[in-house]
């Protein structure tokens, strides 16, 4: 098989970036609705790529992703909300000092969201990574739920069940896709480094990895913290995309973890490009399938819309994909120009 030269790879990548730039710069011509969807795709992608670092590449089954996303979302939102807005929203119990008297820019707030989430990832990972397999999954699932319940009840910090309103809608196409680019570069660079090899070795055989001199616990914890950081970033972007936050299980609770899990399983566990493809698929499918929730008429036949129908069809689609692509769309492979080239040659 012919190998594409480095120069061809670089030229194609630059062309892709230019193409992406023009697409994103002109996404508004499709209307505000589509520009919001394109932004959401990037946010979902960041969640999925950070999640696949833990569940795919390192091979530890965590179910706590929504917890880190929620921490990132609340941290950043509390930092960017205007002081007047905070005073207005927190009427049951006033916001504690110093949060009630600061307001910072979007970029530092996003980074703070990531750092706080990474710190929590360390706190959770340190004790629970001593567990393995299903036990670890349950521990992280419980952790995410604990976070949500804390958010629900800490009125002095999170405004409890009333949630946060009036978050400035800073997240636009550029912020979201810019952060996605950073996420892919960092996690991709990590995957294709000596550390990434060690992580993949751990996912295949922890005992052999240990005997080959790899400190399995440290490496798992490192992957967990990096993943937590980017989940926090995604949460911050998500908060400024939604502009309101509340601690219902269906918004920042366990449902979100399962959505992201679906994305990375569809894309292929352990593949970064697969995670992005999964996120694109999920975001588009969940929008398009909304048409089934309203009345449709085909050939004079009217099918009544049923609420929740889109989720049902999405689940069916998910099962069908899993039957035909056991390892997800990409498996463990990455989408590269070489991959596309050989696919085109074969097809």
């Amino acid at each position: 098989m012919k190998k594409l030269s480095l120069r061809v790879n670089i030229i194609l990548t630059i062309l892709l970036l230019i193409g992406a730039y023009f697409f994103l710069a002109n996404v508004n011509i499709f209307g505000g609705y589509w520009s919001r969807i394109v932004t959401l795709i990037a946010i979902y992608s960041i969640m999925a790529v950070s999640y696949t670092l833990v569940n795919g590449i390192t091979g530890i089954f965590s179910l706590g992703q929504a917890g880190f996303i929620a921490i990132g979302a609340y941290t950043s939102a509390l930092l960017t909300l205007s002081i007047q807005q905070k005073a207005m929203s927190f009427f049951i119990q006033p916001l504690i000092w110093p949060l009630n008297s600061i307001q910072i820019g979007f970029l530092p707030a996003t980074i703070m969201g990531g750092l706080v989430a990474a710190f929590f990832a360390f706190l959770i990972g340190y004790p629970s990574l001593r567990l393995t397999g299903d036990y670890f999954a349950i521990a992280t699932l419980a952790f995410a739920e604990v976070i949500r319940i804390f958010i629900q009840n800490l009125y002095g910090i999170t405004n409890g069940t009333l949630g946060l309103k009036g978050i400035p809608s800073y997240t636009n196409v550029w912020w979201a896709w810019g952060w996605l680019l950073v996420t892919i570069i960092v996690i991709g660079s990590l995957k294709f480094s000596s550390y990434g090899r060690a992580l993949r070795a751990i996912s295949e055989d922890p005992v052999a990895a240990k005997v080959m001199g790899i400190n399995v616990f440290n490496h798992q914890l490192m992957a967990f913290v990096v993943s937590g950081f980017f989940a926090g970033i995604a949460g911050a972007l998500y908060a400024h995309w939604l502009t309101t936050l509340d601690p219902r299980p269906s918004s920042l609770g366990v449902m979100l973890t399962f959505y992201v899990l679906i994305m990375i399983v569809i894309g292929g566990l352990g593949s970064i490009s697969g995670a992005v493809l999964g996120a694109v698929f999920f975001a588009l499918a969940s929008q398009w399938l909304r048409i089934f929730e309203s009345n449709i008429s085909i050939f004079g036949l009217t099918i009544p819309g049923v609420p929740g129908m889109s989720m049902l069809i999405l689940s069916t689609l998910f099962i069908v994909i899993m039957i035909f692509w056991r390892k997800g769309i990409m498996g463990k492979q990455e989408l590269s120009w070489q991959f596309i080239y050989s696919l085109a040659r074969r097809g």
Binding site: S194, A201, K210, V211, G213, M222
Partner: protein
């Protein structure tokens, strides 16, 4: 030159009520090739798991180069200088042959703990290693990281050449023929630059030609790396051919110890393998 590289003192391992190894004492000198044999379930692999830190012994101690290694973590023991292969091949099967070998060199980036452990033990011989943010260098692909990565690649290629499997470099480890997988496991173990190599049934499931090939490979490694090797093997011809000294275990107890010729004629060993005379 009878310097002990490994010494095992009165090691006992109990799993619940079962005594897998009963106060075993053995030693290996530098540059030696020692065999550990015994019928199935005699506790050979258990001993290996204790030496490499996977199990903790119930009592007794193991010393490597005079350092007490009992109860140390497996990755530290590996970094101090013991590498092993497994009875049932445990390669990273989804990774390429080259990646498998390079993984074993990863501890270069994280070896501060092991090196400082050695430093505490003997500060003259082992310098103190200072912490470097290798993790960030790896993400940012800084020049000093890329230099180390390149060295790793070159060393891995050399090892694959020495073991004569360099034609498989980009193949998935699981796609290799059985005999070559065994060799790859040895290459991976060598990549961590050990001074003691432990081979767990390297010739298991091999035909005559493959096992002859392996024999030559082991001799070559002994010579090229001036390696000390401890091996478990069932193939008697293989063991008698290659080992300088042999320990025989039965039901967790040492029943014989000596040169291959002595072992072959030992009554206890024959009994352990073939049963009591009454049954013969």
């Amino acid at each position: 030159m009878a310097e002990n590289i490994l010494r095992v003192d009165d090691i006992t391992i109990k799993f619940g009520g079962l005594t897998a190894v009963n106060s075993l004492a053995m030693h290996i000198n530098k540059g030696e090739l020692v065999g550990l044999i015994g019928p199935n379930g005699a506790g050979k692999t258990t001993i290996f798991n204790v030496i490499t830190g996977i199990y903790k012994p119930t009592s007794g101690k193991a010393f490597f180069k005079g350092i007490d290694i009992t109860g140390l973590k497996p990755h530290i023991i590996n970094q101090i200088g013991i590498a092993r292969t497994f009875q049932n091949i445990r390669l990273f099967s989804d990774m390429t042959v080259l990646e498998n070998v390079m993984v074993a060199q990863h501890s270069f980036f994280t070896d501060q703990k092991a090196m400082n452990f050695l430093h505490d033990h003997n500060s003259k011989k082992y310098p103190k290693v200072h912490w470097k943010p290798w993790f960030f260098s790896a993400i940012l692909k800084t020049p000093d990281y890329l230099k180390v990565e390149k060295q790793m690649r070159i060393y891995a290629m050399d090892l694959l050449k020495i073991l004569d499997i360099e034609q498989y470099i980009d193949a998935k480890a699981s796609s290799l023929p059985y005999g070559q997988q065994r060799k790859l496991e040895i290459a991976r173990a060598l990549a961590s630059k050990p001074s003691l190599l432990i081979l767990d049934e390297p010739a298991a499931g091999m035909n005559q030609r493959e096992s002859q090939d392996l024999l030559d490979t082991i001799r070559k490694i002994m010579k090229d790396f001036s390696m000390t090797i401890l091996l478990i093997e069932h193939d008697m011809k293989f063991v008698m051919n290659i080992c300088e000294r042999i320990y025989v275990l039965d039901y967790g107890k040492l029943i014989a110890h000596g040169k291959p010729m002595e072992i072959q004629n030992d009554r206890k060993v024959i009994e352990a393998y073939l049963g009591d005379e009454a049954y013969v």
